[in-house]
Symmetry: C2
DNA sequence: CCGCCGAGGTTGACGTGTCAACCAACGTCT
DNA sequence: AGACGTTGGTTGACACGTCAACCTCGGCGG
């Protein structure tokens, strides 16, 4: 039980900054999105993913994989979205276990209506405050960290 | 209703990277923390803040301000932590509306025991993957974005 | 063909956090 | 002193997400 390697000042500024930004930014984006479209961020993620696939439908497992969500989380969320008429569950052809999620017309309308405002919100609160170099650095950082996290999904 | 300024490729990489990292990183940190201390991240934030104050106590409003939490959120969370014996509510001297949160001995033990492991976890999953320049850039980005968000708390 | 394991999915209980409504004490203005 | 808006705090309903348990179907090996 040796003395832990506490964070030095530079590390602390980065870490605390991240935590603070994360809290405030996500809250603000969620509020903007909810206010002008009635969707939550998870709703938006599901709908935008489906809207980009051919046939506007995906198997649960594939959707979960793309979003990096657990099966459980996806199942719960799809249940809620289904009740609001945004998506529909269908049987999977050729696999009795299967379940496919399909975009409904209402779901498509919702994402089409929400997208411009959401992008605008992301710009206003984050992207437009960063320089090109900062964007590159942010992309590099996140890519590396994500790679590490998905590699050691266990540890 | 002009055409929205969609994100270009660079912006997209940064934005998607951020979203992905946020999801995976927070989940992993929360899991590590829960596994070796039984605390959640919000628990940790409350306890570590209190442990750094003189008297190990703070008014609700001040604690909420420091953590950037809503009054509601703090009240709910303190209720849960109080039931687990980590903190205690006290009356505020000189202000009948007041409420003060105080660390209990059990709460102090918990944060002291949890801190080394948590720092280690933060290093392993994030900090140790970044160069010094990247740490500086991350701190700069987050500071600027947080400043903007707290300034226009309304818009 | 049967037994069994793994893959795909659902469910329930619970902790967390949001918003909105509400309440009580404070301070100020007259 | 009395009226009244503000500040500090709580509560309830509900959305979200985790874990763990469970179920069913698919694919294999013997």
């Amino acid at each position: 039980m040796t003395e832990p390697r506490w964070l030095d000042q530079r590390e602390n500024r980065a870490w605390r900054g991240y935590r603070r930004m994360r809290g405030l930014l996500d809250l603000q984006l969620a509020r903007d999105l909810a206010a002008d479209s009635g969707l939550s961020e998870p709703d938006y993620d599901v709908l935008s993913t489906l809207s980009e696939t051919e046939g506007h439908r995906l198997r649960m497992i594939d959707l979960a994989g793309w979003l990096l969500w657990s099966k459980s989380r996806l199942s719960h969320h799809i249940t809620r979205m289904e009740q609001r008429g945004l998506v529909r569950r269908e049987e999977s052809p050729g696999d009795g276990r299967g379940a496919v999620v399909a975009l409904t017309p209402a779901g498509l309308d919702a994402i089409v209506a929400a997208a411009p405002g959401h992008v605008e919100s992301v710009r206003r609160h984050l992207i437009d405050h960063l320089t090109e170099d900062e964007l590159e650095t942010l992309a590099a950082i996140t890519t590396r960290v994500v790679a590490h996290l998905t590699a050691h999904a266990d540890t």
